[in-house]
């Protein structure tokens, strides 16, 4: 019997595979393709205190080995989310992680407080969305701001807090240490890398927002390097993500120091990716005689 269970700040996941915020909605659409009971956790699309309309279209563009997106955190707001999305996810035997976004500290706190009495296992605080002008990234690129927002959120949060870090910084370990100093329980990384594409026939940006966050297989080496760096800089558990499409990719992140992994863009071209990765990790463990997945976490030094 092999053990695939991992622990994030006291929350036990049946396996380390979860979804990357924004790529999986709140699970309803993908539940037609995958059994959500097979996932360690579902991480929801970012939710704010009120509905956000998001950015103008086009919001996405394909680039080599990945895509750019500038959705702009369109979301229904916490009221609808609590009435509709949480009850949906509660039907499944998986952990619920809610991604929280805001324009001001007060926005974040309002959502975090509303979620305090809900059956939510962890909160992921999005301080790294590159596509909204206010909030989001404004909190994620300055270590003092990272520490301050983390501390504020922690004061009000009833659930353990994951701080989601941006790769669009000079040294991500500085941000990781700032989040740790502010009291974060878990770190997740990376959010998308800011990129651009130009349509030469239209002589215009491919995305209405001009820039978009790059994701997909092409960002994986950068993400993996950052997860390794952060794992060696802080003592918090890490959720690794960035271009994970296969069990092999997921295992690389785990060996670099991630306790859990999130699957994002791969869902768009393979809606079965999450369960295939969970199965593939088990197969690897059986094949290589690994009794406990924790043996693999950070095993490559």
């Amino acid at each position: 019997m092999i053990n695939t269970k991992v622990n994030l700040a006291g929350v036990e996941l049946k396996n380390p595979v979860m979804t990357a915020s924004g790529t999986f909605g709140s699970g309803a659409e993908y539940s037609e393709f995958v059994d959500l009971n097979r996932l360690g956790a579902v991480v929801t699309k970012g939710v704010a205190n009120v509905p956000w309309p998001g950015n103008p279209t086009p919001r996405i563009a394909e680039v080599y080995g990945g895509m750019l997106n500038a959705i702009g955190l369109q979301n229904p707001g916490i009221d609808v989310f609590v009435q509709r999305d949480i009850p949906f996810l509660k039907q499944y035997d998986t952990k619920i992680i809610v991604n929280v976004c805001g324009k001001t500290t007060e926005d974040y706190i309002e959502v975090v407080e509303r979620l305090g009495d809900e059956p939510v296992d962890l909160l992921e605080i999005n301080i790294s969305c590159p596509n909204v002008k206010e909030g989001g990234i404004a909190f994620g690129q300055d270590p003092k701001a990272v520490e301050a927002i983390t501390r504020e959120v922690k004061r009000y949060a009833k659930q353990p807090v994951i701080m989601k870090l941006s790769p669009n910084v000079t040294d991500i370990t500085v941000m990781a240490k700032a989040a740790e100093a502010g009291g974060a329980d878990v770190l997740s990384l990376i959010n998308t890398l800011t990129g651009m594409k130009i349509d030469i026939n239209k002589r215009a940006f491919a995305i209405a927002n001009k820039t978009g966050g790059m994701s997909g297989p092409a960002v994986k080496p950068v993400a993996l390097r950052m997860v390794y760096q952060v794992a060696n800089a802080v003592s918090l558990p890490i959720i690794g993500m960035g271009g994970i499409a296969t069990a092999e990719d997921a295992l690389e992140f785990i060996m670099a120091g991630a306790t859990a992994v999130s699957v994002g863009t791969a869902n768009f071209y393979n809606p079965y990716a999450t369960v295939e990765i969970a199965q593939g990790i088990e197969d690897y463990m059986k094949k290589h005689g690994v009794a406990d997945i924790r043996e693999l976490i950070g095993c490559v030094k």
Partner: protein, 257 residues
């Protein structure tokens, strides 16, 4: 039955014009569930291309379990599809989207209006609509699917260069030929849809438009392909309906173009 992603087989392919191709795909499960106006996501075999190409269904042969897509080669992805031959595998997901509401034309006269690569979904619609049908097809220059459409509807053509039918666009053809109907079903470029929306409002006609937008997931999760809607949308409670899931077919008054 719901939507599925499957490895299907190409049953045959031919070029209709220099850059427009017609492909039949053996996909029993999807064909069994598909209705006119729906689309499929088609995935390339190039790992460097991560997003599916949404392509409308031109015909659905339920008896043989086949789908027909007619698409234009616009980039490297569709170029790859155009080289597929009978027997090749093709990765697809579907059927996606809502489709045209056929019942709205019962006992009425319908316009089926297609512009350019918006023409293909009109063919299956014409096959399934049981009413008086007038197809108005707009082209830049070279015609395609017009002869096939003649089996199911009275066909009028408009070309930008005047090489066939009325010189101009689909509305020029409608006005010059004095065509009339009660309900509009249309698919084509946004300027055409915008003009049809205004025309329908002026005439007090019911008008159903099939929209297009850049898509990623194709199933309503990623919120990439939204259009501005008059009413608050069911998903995010803003004014952004999802083209892939709430559409691609919308009542004209429902959307801002």
């Amino acid at each position: 039955m719901g939507k599925i992603k499957m490895t299907a087989k190409v049953a045959g392919q031919q070029a209709l014009t220099e850059d427009i191709f017609s492909m039949w795909i053996q996909a029993d499960e999807i064909a069994a569930a598909a209705v006119p106006g729906q689309f499929i996501s088609v995935y390339t075999k190039d790992a460097g291309k991560v997003l599916p190409r949404p392509i409308s269904l031109c015909e659905v042969d339920k008896e043989q379990g086949r789908l027909r897509i007619v698409y234009r080669v616009v980039g490297a992805g569709t170029k790859e599809f155009s080289a597929y031959e009978a027997g090749d595998s093709i990765e697809i997901m579907g059927p996606l989207g809502n489709g045209f509401p056929l019942e709205r034309a019962a006992g009425k006269r319908a316009f089926l209006i297609g512009g350019g690569i918006g023409i293909p979904p009109m063919l299956e619609l014409a096959k399934q609509l049981d009413c008086e049908k007038t197809a108005v097809l707009g082209y830049r220059d070279v015609l395609f699917l017009d002869k096939e459409m003649e089996q199911y509807a009275s066909v009028y053509v408009a070309t930008e260069d005047g090489s066939a039918g009325t010189k101009g666009n689909v509305l020029d053809a409608i006005r010059k030929q004095g065509l009339e109907a009660d309900v509009i079903y249309a698919c084509g470029p946004t300027p055409m849809l915008r003009a049809l929306k205004a025309y329908a409002e002026e005439k007090g006609m019911e008008c159903w438009l099939s929209l297009e937008e850049k898509m990623a997931c194709g199933i309503g999760a990623c919120l990439a392909c939204v259009c501005q809607s008059k009413d608050v949308d069911e998903h995010s409670h803003v004014h952004n309906k999802r083209v892939c899931k709430d559409g691609p077919v919308f009542l004209a008054q429902e959307v801002e173009l």
